[in-house]
């Protein structure tokens, strides 16, 4: 089984799907000859041609809106939004059009599109306010849209294939910091990872940490930091934010009785609020401590300077400190 980076696994998933099914195509800014600003479609142009590897004008609403039409008429488009920070011009097309197409037509029309969007910041990203944002809370709110964000290369390939084959629109969020920092074994064979299932990355008994993307990485580091202090943290990779794997979340909380949610987005009304509410509603009597959210500050950032970025985004040390407080509660 070859070992590869997250970015390579994403590229491989698209490559295999385009080989498998000629209806599959990619479109977006710079996806063609350049192969994408991160290289996710590197070599596709030469292999599959300009019609299936479509360089679009610089217009995000066009990228998603035309993909809706392409999907209606028999293609399976993978639309790339170059940075998730640029997704807002397409917000209406995603929320009001793609996600509502099936419901508003009473099931008559579907919208099998995948929207890939690199997201997230941090001191190694140097993206500043407009190349670092976490956008999952806006989109996880929308019925009719699936929202996925992988952590391991194995999942990246399997989940992206599942997204491409999904008959409904999927927003596939890729954390930029994981692109080249995470390596893992990726099977050669054709496989999918089901959308809607979380993964227990570390089993534990003291408390449960729910996270995804880069914050899952930080949470796993934090769990190791406190492991020597008789704090045995369970760390769960949510992977799919919608539909959310509520069963796995509740099962873990019922075992540990304590829950933390870690996310990189601003804290207020972020994804952790929903996880927290679900736990409070469905597992109230299993709780032996307050539900804790660890998230970024409620300022309109991510800031560019390393010092500011570090002060803005949670890290393993901050998560570990919160875990110690919760364990002692």
């Amino acid at each position: 089984m070859p070992e590869m980076r997250l970015l390579d696994a994403i590229r491989l998933a698209m490559y295999e799907e385009m080989k498998r099914d000629e209806r599959v195509m990619v479109l977006g800014e710079d996806v063609g000859v350049k192969g994408g600003v991160f290289g996710a479609t590197d070599g596709f142009y030469a292999e599959f041609g300009a019609a299936r590897v479509l360089d679009t004008p610089l217009a995000e609403s066009l990228i998603v809106g035309s993909a809706v039409g392409m999907a209606v008429n028999g293609l399976i488009p993978i639309a790339e939004i170059q940075f998730s920070d640029f997704i807002y011009p397409a917000f209406n097309q995603i929320v009001s059009e793609a996600a509502r197409m099936r419901y508003r037509s009473n099931g008559a029309f579907g919208c099998p599109i995948t929207i890939r969007a690199p997201y997230g910041g941090g001191i190694e990203v140097h993206g500043g306010l407009y190349h670092s944002q976490s956008v999952e809370a806006f989109f996880s709110h929308v019925p009719g849209l699936k929202v996925v964000t992988p952590y391991t290369p194995h999942d990246a390939k399997g989940l992206l294939k599942a997204a491409i084959r999904d008959p409904d629109p999927v927003l596939f969020l890729e954390h930029k910091r994981l692109y080249r920092s995470i390596r893992g074994e990726v099977p050669d064979e054709d496989y999918t990872v089901p959308i809607g299932k979380a993964a227990v990355r570390r089993q534990g008994t003291t408390l449960s940490i729910f996270a995804y993307g880069q914050m899952l990485h930080e949470s796993l580091r934090a769990a190791e930091q406190v492991a020597g202090e008789a704090i045995d943290a369970e760390v769960i990779d949510l992977r799919t934010l919608r539909p959310l794997d509520v069963e796995t979340i509740l099962e873990s909380v019922r075992k540990t009785s304590k829950a933390m949610i870690v996310y990189e987005d601003n804290r207020f009304m972020g994804f952790g609020a929903e996880v927290s509410a679900i736990i409070a509603e469905e597992a109230f009597e299993a709780l032996d401590g307050p539900i804790v959210r660890i998230a970024s500050l409620d300022v309109p950032a991510v800031p560019y300077a390393d010092t500011l970025a570090a002060a803005f985004i949670p890290n393993a040390e901050r998560i570990a400190a919160a875990a110690r407080r919760l364990a002692a509660y």
Binding site: T152, S181, I182, R183, G184, E185, R201, R202, Q203, T205, H217, L220, R221, E224, A227, D232, V235, S257, E282, F284, E285, A286, L287, D288, G289, R325, A328, Y329
Partner: protein, 416 residues
């Protein structure tokens, strides 16, 4: 019967309308959809068509007067039988239609889970939300207290180890465990008494004796089983062809023997005369059988190869399950290994077999994310848990002993 015509809902957020002009007089014939009355609102001004054909019998509202939406404004004699109400709000006309009458009363598609509020109410009735000291009780502690009928007075005096003296789940469980030995709940109607089998009685006596006499202490470490898992995967089929089932337990026994040789204090017994260090290494293996647990012994386990241990284990477990163990098979153990991992346990603290210094629990091998060279890697990990007699040795030895095993596992190579 006359039909009542109501002031229609002429637009979103329109709540009232003014009769500007009647276009029909009482006694006039009105065709269906023929204009009946001019209505003005603050949003639109319209001629209202009659929803029915008939004769206008009465104007109920004079010109210039304003009425809320839904107010009757006229009566029309249609010649139809029965009372029909038409006009706004529009949805009301639905009731004249066969089919989903009353459908607005249908329950939502996904009803809220029932009985939650009832449960909360009963818990709140008998368990205080706070202790006398003012520390908050968590939902879980309140629920446990409710289930076990812990009196409020007890909760108020129970010492808490949580932040600010809060009573934690563990505090309450510990309290309840103490209660259990002191005063078991008497059998009540509907309870069932299962007679003690000889083996159950024996296990009960020996375990209680052990916990009574031996001050147990515990240590747990984590082992990366990659090397062992890989080697076993590569060889188990070949071994099976030779008739040897290559179980993980065989590896555990071999590793324990290596460590016991280095730390003879772990292969020992407590006596009033002193600590007896055993020269021979006889390893007991906990084996679950139908009605309990037996602990047959591999004698001189340190003299056997991996294949020898595997063969011995196979023989013992087969005979244990068939009930054919002899007295000599279960006597003379100097150290015991129990493997709750086969049932999926990931963290175990077993009870020491009386007469021995320690018992080792091997837990399930689980794939986990661990840090290797500052990167996250997925590895098959296992906990080793040692329960030991703190009279015989201390925690440092316990951990060193397990670390010796850990080293053996993690550096496992062909030919051992």
């Amino acid at each position: 019967m006359p039909v009542e015509i109501k002031l229609p809902q002429l637009g979103e957020s329109i709540h009232e309308g003014t009769i500007a002009r009647w276009l029909k007089k009482p006694g006039d014939r009105v065709e269906k959809y023929e204009s009946l009355v001019e209505i003005t609102t603050d949003k639109v001004n319209v001629e209202m068509p009659s929803p029915f054909a008939g004769v206008l019998t009465e104007q109920l509202v004079a010109e210039g007067e304003t009425r809320p939406v839904g107010s009757p404004i006229a009566l029309i004699e249609t010649g139809a039988v029965g009372v029909v109400v038409v006009g706004a709000p529009a949805a009301q006309t639905v009731h004249a239609v066969p089919g989903p009458a009353g459908s607005d009363e249908s329950p939502p598609a996904r009803p809220a889970p029932p009985a939650v509020t009832a449960g909360l109410a009963s818990a709140a009735a008998s368990v205080p939300a706070k202790t006398a000291g003012g520390a908050r009780l968590s939902p879980l502690v309140r629920k446990l207290a409710e289930e076990h009928q812990v009196p409020a007075a007890v909760l108020e005096t129970l010492p808490g180890t949580g932040a600010g003296g809060r009573i934690t789940k563990e505090d309450l469980l510990q309290y309840l465990a103490g209660l259990g030995t002191a005063a078991p709940a008497p059998p009540q109607a509907g309870d069932e008494v299962v007679k003690l089998s000889p083996i159950r009685r024996s296990i009960g006596q020996r375990m209680a004796q052990s916990k009574r006499e031996i001050p147990h202490a515990y240590g747990v470490i984590e082992v990366d089983m990659s090397a062992v898992v890989a080697w076993r995967e590569a060889h188990k089929d070949a071994w099976r062809r030779d008739g040897i089932p290559l179980t993980y337990t065989a590896f555990f026994v071999r590793a324990a023997c290596e460590a016991l040789r280095v730390f003879p204090i772990v292969n020992a017994s407590w006596s009033d005369e002193g600590i007896v260090l055993h020269r021979a290494i006889h390893i007991g293996i906990g084996i679950a059988i139908d009605d309990g647990l037996v602990v047959p012994v591999i004698h001189n386990a340190d003299q056997a190869s991996l294949a020898g241990v595997a063969r011995g284990l196979e023989d013992l477990s087969r005979r244990a399950r068939a009930g054919r163990l002899g007295l000599e098979d279960i006597q003379g153990g100097t150290f015991t290994i129990t493997n709750p991992g086969v049932f999926g346990s990931i963290w175990s603290m077993p009870i020491i077999v009386p007469g021995q210094a320690a018992i080792l629990a091997t837990d399930a091998i689980v794939k986990r994310a661990v840090v290797r060279d500052d990167a996250i890697a997925i590895r098959p990990m296992m906990h080793l848990g040692l329960s030991f007699d703190h009279r015989i040795f201390d925690g440092a030895v316990a951990v060193q002993f397990m670390n010796r095993m850990k080293q053996w596992f993690e550096e496992f190579r062909d030919g051992r």
